[in-house]
Symmetry: C2
Subunit: 111 residues, 2 copies
DNA sequence: CTTCAAGTACGACTTGCATCGTACCTGAAG
DNA sequence: CTTCAGGTACGATGCAAGTCGTACTTGAAG
């Protein structure tokens, strides 16, 4: 089974502080909002999020999300897959992902 | 007019980023967890939270919570009251306060 | 009035974190 | 093999944020 190659915390070990810290950043939150909104939960590429930051910084942000237990990173060598850990998050923090969709009332200008 | 003396954002203007940033700090989150757990929603004193930090830093943290729209601060001159804005938070971000109670399974050792 | 405790304002210090530059690794395509 | 794009590792930098020291304000108690 091509599970998660890169290690993240177990479902029961998710820390609320790490989660809030991860979601405090605008870029990371936009990624999580996209993942939470897409109910298909399909594996996505790293550059499918259109982040206005450099590659190194993207690597940093995805690492933070993974270490917080929010996503899985599947390493293919020269390519990487991103997948939301929806079941684990919902089990540990039910309703959290729904909050991401209820962000700004009308505008989405991240600024 | 014993409302809120110090200004905070309206219920509809609560920003998810500011909320997550406010809850990212251990001390502020412990305060919010206490407030969210106490269903009486009674007004509390600032020093009733037993924070291991100086007065000036407490002032700073309560200001952040107020500017995020999470609490009201009632100024009595030489005394200050803290009250959770439960209705506004639940209206804007339903389920958020429930997450605070589901923090760590058993321990709250910050460091 | 004076005294005192609670809280704030301002500033300084220190840590954390987001960001990027350079160099290196990996796998696919020629 | 070489080339190239995607990704990572390490280090440096700049800014935001947490913390506290000093001084000031406020209201109650004496």
């Amino acid at each position: 089974m091509a599970g998660r190659n890169l290690d993240g915390p177990e479902a029961d070990a998710l820390d609320l502080g790490a989660v809030f810290r991860a979601l405090a950043d605008e870029h990371r939150r936009s990624v999580m909002t996209e993942l939470a909104t897409d109910r298909s939960d399909s594996e996505r590429g790293c550059n499918s999020f259109d982040l206005p930051i450099s590659k190194q910084t993207q690597t940093h942000h995805f690492r933070v999300l993974r270490e917080a237990g929010l996503i899985d990173e599947i390493d293919y060598g020269n390519r990487k897959g991103i997948r939301l850990r929806r079941a684990d998050i919902e089990k540990r923090f039910p309703g959290l992902l729904a909050l991401l969709g209820a962000g700004p009332p009308a505008d989405t200008a991240p600024r």
